[in-house]
Symmetry: C2
Subunit: 377 residues, 2 copies
């Protein structure tokens, strides 16, 4: 038996091929009949040839579908169950499990196909929730948890800082020394003098990159009650979407992000920046927008050198978090946030294409002519 | 009236000169008659010519003494008060106050002299505690709070992580998927299954660099109950001192730190690394010793490029903290820790020299023939 699948042939070249239908290999495997597969921004690193990889594998690490078959050691799922997969097959911590393998790579065929083999099915699959729009469910494979993680790490960093004895800034400390620069000092004080929750919600958070992951990060930050979320992108349509979630848009090429952020923060800089783009320019911009002792949360997939020196890090006293989301760990919380936002997310999926048109889907997504492309099978 | 002072003339060249006695300039100034001044490791960057700076200024940012005169707006101190100064003159957050100026630089003469002018005296000076050995008090200017800050940031990072919904690793998550790699999985589980405090104290923390700041970092980590603190240095005498605080020594050139740490952590890596050296090799080593999602706390003063790529940061999922200690903020807590450790610290100050022998003090400290050098005036 064979099946149709989207195969990576090399940079800017994906296409439909016939492949043998996916089969169980290990007793912990499941076979899933795919209903919807997504094209994810992180696949563009491979598509554009920036990420060195082999060819000939089936693409896709976002898919939802129906369990078709299970191995003898799978206990949490039955054939017929509707499921959503996380982007890599794991039995441990999703992001850094030493046995984790991402779908859609030479090591493991992906889900842009009629069927897909899912290793460690009990850990990799999640039951589909009943109260979420099926088209949005695909976002739970990767991008929504990734954006959620980016914002949550930033917020967690700020919480830690506001509660820390290592960074607290109490009125006592400035007693009697207000002679020089008293006005600015008072600004600092009023900033730090609210309650912890209040401080978080009054914080200024910037999201750099408003593609799918960035929109998810914005939604998550706003859901946590952050009032001032700034959104930076060079694509106007993406900023319209960002604004619909309550973010304040900054259009690259028209506005100067640094000037803008410094102006609205009395020259202090943003409390936290969430960087989701995955290139040097975005990372450098994130650094420059931060206040001293700010939080840099980067979930972009970076291939390059770091655009900072050690002296700059030292002088900025910042906290830096990089890395991939542990989807399974945060799945339930992220799902709650997405479900609460599903009405606003309706415009989010701009293109629904049949599997046969996958090549076009990659092309328009790569050219930023689409917000999010899903393939229906 | 004139005074004797230690002047920076250029790399490897400091010496005693006669200078006009320090005078009040601003109403928030105080003049301090110096009793003891320290030579600090961070001055070696200037002494060795690695840090570009001017010449002709008075060295020293560690000093304790007696208030001689106060400006009209100084309210917390009186002539005759015994005081200890923090390393930079500030009215805000010690480490990144926009008006902060470090002593012992071309911008502000330092305390290796008979007298020193202290700007923003109410913020910069602290009253000398009554229950601490006077020779050890000099450590409160910079190095003890710096080491304390390095360890505390690492511990705070671990606490945040162990309590975080973003990284928690619960038994539920591995239910039913123990087929492959079950043994290793159980190790992970047992590691993460203790209570939060227990987890912190069972964590593996590595301190790279066992000069004065490193010893302070070790003392602070041990004081928090961390059982496994590893100490890395290339100088055997420093490791003897580290071991006296309960650290487990690793001698560079004899032991392989990575092999050692991987062995004692079942190939997982250290939970946190505190880097106090301030060069690329130490920073690279810190990165390589960390487990995935570990905490890198760097208080070393770095002049170079960062020895990591963005891809390495992404793949490691680590949290990175750099920067200078906010001494004033943490002064009371750090002082409590130092006071509790003062008996063990007795061997810490290896050389007490008269001011006239400052040049020799710099020489032997630079050659790592001294643990800590203080100048008595």
């Amino acid at each position: 038996m064979s099946m149709k699948a989207v195969v990576f042939r090399g940079p800017f070249d994906v296409g439909i091929e016939q492949r043998p239908r996916s089969q169980l290999k290990d007793s912990t495997d499941a076979i899933v009949r795919v209903n919807i597969a997504g094209i994810c921004g992180s696949e563009l690193h491979m598509y554009r040839g920036h990420q060195q990889t082999g060819t000939g594998h089936i693409m896709g690490h976002e898919f939802v579908g129906i369990v078709e078959e299970i191995g003898s050691d799978v206990s949490s799922f039955q054939p017929g169950d509707e499921v959503v997969s996380i982007f890599s097959a794991v039995w441990g911590l999703t992001n850094r499990c030493i046995n984790g393998t991402a779908f859609g790579t030479p090591l493991l065929d992906g889900g842009q196909a009629e069927y897909v083999r899912v290793p460690f099915a009990d850990g990799t699959l999640q039951h589909a929730p009943t109260n979420l729009d099926r088209r949005l469910l695909i976002m739970m494979c990767d991008i929504f948890p990734t954006g959620y993680y980016g914002s949550q790490r930033a917020i967690e960093g700020l919480k830690t800082q506001y509660n820390s004895k290592l960074t607290s800034f109490t009125p006592k400390e400035t007693h009697g020394i207000a002679q020089n620069g008293a006005e600015e000092n008072e600004q600092n004080l009023s900033y730090f003098s609210n309650s912890a929750i209040g401080k978080i919600q009054e914080s200024t958070i910037v999201v750099i990159g408003c593609g799918p992951v960035g929109i998810c990060a914005i939604a998550a930050a706003r859901w946590e009650g952050i009032k001032k979320v700034f959104a930076i992108d060079s694509v106007e349509d993406r900023l319209v979407e960002a604004a619909s979630f309550g973010a304040i848009p900054i259009l690259l090429g028209k506005d100067d992000p640094k000037e803008h952020i410094m102006k609205v923060t009395n020259n202090r800089g943003a409390d936290a920046v969430v960087e989701v783009v995955g290139n040097k320019a975005a990372l450098r911009s994130a650094f420059e927008l931060l206040r001293p002792c700010g939080i840099l949360s980067s979930v972009g997939f970076h291939q390059d050198e770091l655009p900072f020196t050690a002296l700059e890090f030292y002088q900025a006293n910042i906290t830096v978090n990089f890395g991939r989301v542990p989807v399974r760990t945060i799945f339930d919380d992220a799902l709650r946030c997405l479900t609460a936002n599903q009405d606003k997310m309706q415009n989010y999926i701009s293109h629904e294409l049949p599997l046969n048109e996958a090549a076009r889907g990659y092309r328009i997504f790569e050219q930023t002519k689409a917000r999010k492309v899903i393939l229906k099978i």
